[in-house]
């Protein structure tokens, strides 16, 4: 069945696909590759990236640690849009203008799949305009309807009351680091601190058991970092589908005041949401709400470990945090999104073909000298800062208020407890579209 034929049948397809048969709502099965179809790309045929202009790979282990240098080089070489044959064909706009233009163009670029991998959505996947994990995977007009359901729980006034809980959590994590001897003790600011914060908060918002935190992090890793593994072998994605199915069942038996029950009670066109849509939205909240913010917190602490002046400024002038938090977001934006080309089009001379991938590196847009003065410099009190860390256009990060709150409180609490710290060993960066340190050893120094 072609995609077009599939789209025309979108409505009954959704209605008929209940969750009762216990098929995973997100993953590689059933039947191996129906939800994901293999793209014509074998990572083994390609070595490490030699030239990012013509052979770009965001999953090259050297990319994330050096991304700002890669963007700068591409811009200076006059390459506003890079290309790669990897993943079956991928375009990579680097400038703020080109990223902005594609983010706004929902006609030529679909959000049907927003994670570039060796698999594309297959015949069993939820078709456009809904996509597997609405509303991030949705296009207009469905996108607006789905997003409108999710906006209220994430609006600023609903998120502000979480501040105290986030603060208590951060302090508990710092307490758990145990006895600290300044000048000697080394802690891992990513593993012992950053990675726990968003997962704990979104798990609680969804009403999932706190003991499952490690499982959520595994799900995220499976979804976002193992992008070069064969579809059908990424069991973790099926596990996630089953896990969420079980949580939905539990909430059906025992409705409660949390985001999962909220979603299950939402109506679309006069009907309760299908489990597929509820489950897809939960996958989105879980995946999007975890390693993104954890990466932003980690990168910010990585920066501070190397910047005594900025640590001192935060201590001496706590008000500067209003600007500092946005500058952390600009300089270390963790999230690169993606689109698929919806129809053949010529994008400023780039012959884009239907189903080509397009990466949307908002972090690169944030380093464009046409948009930001001294973009590669961290200016803690940068007053003019139209950063795109949360995206641009209709898909603006739904959880941006929560992310901003978690980032601000996490930094405030860390530097309040440890005013001085330095890097204490090798930092390991993530692989793929979410950029941040995964191992971040820092030595705590005397105040």
């Amino acid at each position: 069945m072609t995609d077009v034929a599939k789209n025309e049948q979108a409505e009954p397809e959704v209605a008929n696909r209940g969750f009762g048969d216990r098929d995973p709502i997100f993953g590689d099965s059933p039947e191996g590759t129906d939800v994901w179809q293999r793209v014509p790309y074998n990572p083994d045929d390609y070595g490490p990236v030699s030239d990012f202009a013509t052979d770009f790979d965001h999953a090259d282990p050297d990319y994330n640690p050096n991304a700002p240098k890669v963007w700068k080089q591409l811009r200076e070489d006059g390459c506003p849009v890079a290309h790669s044959d990897r993943y079956g064909g991928m375009w990579i706009p680097i400038t703020h203008d080109t990223v902005h233009e594609i983010a706004y163009d929902t006609e030529n670029f679909t959000s049907r799949s927003v994670v570039v991998s060796v698999g594309r959505p297959g015949d069993m996947a939820m078709p456009a305009p809904i996509g597997g994990v609405p509303p991030i995977s949705s296009d207009p007009p469905f996108h607006g309807q789905a997003r409108r359901m999710l906006l209220p729980p994430f609006a600023p006034k609903q998120i502000e009351p979480w501040e105290e809980e986030v603060r208590i959590l951060c302090r508990r994590l710092l307490d758990d680091m145990g006895e600290i001897t300044p000048g000697e003790s080394v802690v891992d600011a990513a593993v012992q601190y950053a990675q726990h914060i968003p997962v704990n908060v979104i798990g609680r918002m969804l009403g999932f058991p706190e003991k499952d935190e490690a499982l959520f992090r595994k799900f995220v890793h499976d979804a976002l970092e193992r992008i070069n593994e064969e579809p059908g072998t990424r069991d973790g994605l099926d596990d996630l589908g089953h896990y969420i199915g079980a949580q939905i069942d539990d909430h059906r038996e025992n409705p409660r005041d949390d985001l999962t029950s909220y979603l299950m009670n939402q109506e679309l066109n006069g009907e309760k949401l299908s489990d597929d849509i509820v489950g897809g939205a939960i996958v989105l909240l879980l995946v999007a709400g975890i390693d993104t913010t954890w990466s932003a917190i980690g990168s910010s602490l990585w920066h501070l470990a190397q910047s005594p002046d900025d640590r001192k400024r935060l201590q001496d002038d706590p008000e500067v945090m209003t600007f500092a938090v946005e500058e952390f977001l600009r300089a270390y934006a963790p999230v690169t999104m993606a689109r698929m080309v919806a129809k053949d089009n010529d994008f400023h001379g780039c012959p884009m073909k239907k189903d080509d991938w397009v990466l949307l590196p908002f972090p690169a847009a944030n380093h464009d000298p046409k948009q930001f003065e001294d973009p590669d410099k961290f200016v803690i009190d940068r007053e003019q800062n139209r950063h795109a860390a949360f995206g641009l256009g209709i898909h603006r990060c739904l959880g941006s208020n929560l992310a901003r709150l978690e980032l601000r409180v996490a930094i405030e609490e860390f530097v309040a407890r440890f005013p001085n710290f330095e890097l204490a060993g090798d930092v390991t960066w993530s692989v793929g579209q979410i950029r941040g340190p995964r191992v971040l050893p820092v030595r705590i120094l005397a105040d």
Partner: protein, 66 residues
């Protein structure tokens, strides 16, 4: 100074609400709502400039009365 908010362009980044709560509120969906009727009081000119120059979607415009 006149201030204008383009509700179509606003995507709910909430930067204006954070920087200039005297001029902007947010609704239940996180969309910006202008609190003044076009005219910005003199003491809020700096905040208006701050809000306008931080909106990622360029949804806020200022015009200077001559």
């Amino acid at each position: 100074m006149q201030i204008h908010l383009d509700a179509e362009k606003c995507q709910g980044h909430n930067r204006c609400y954070g920087l200039a709560p005297e001029l902007f509120d947010v609704d239940d969906y996180g969309q910006a709502v202008l609190l003044v009727d076009g005219e910005v009081p003199a003491e809020l000119h700096d905040k208006a400039r701050l809000a306008a120059s931080n909106c990622p979607e360029y949804a806020i415009t200022l015009t200077q009365e001559s």
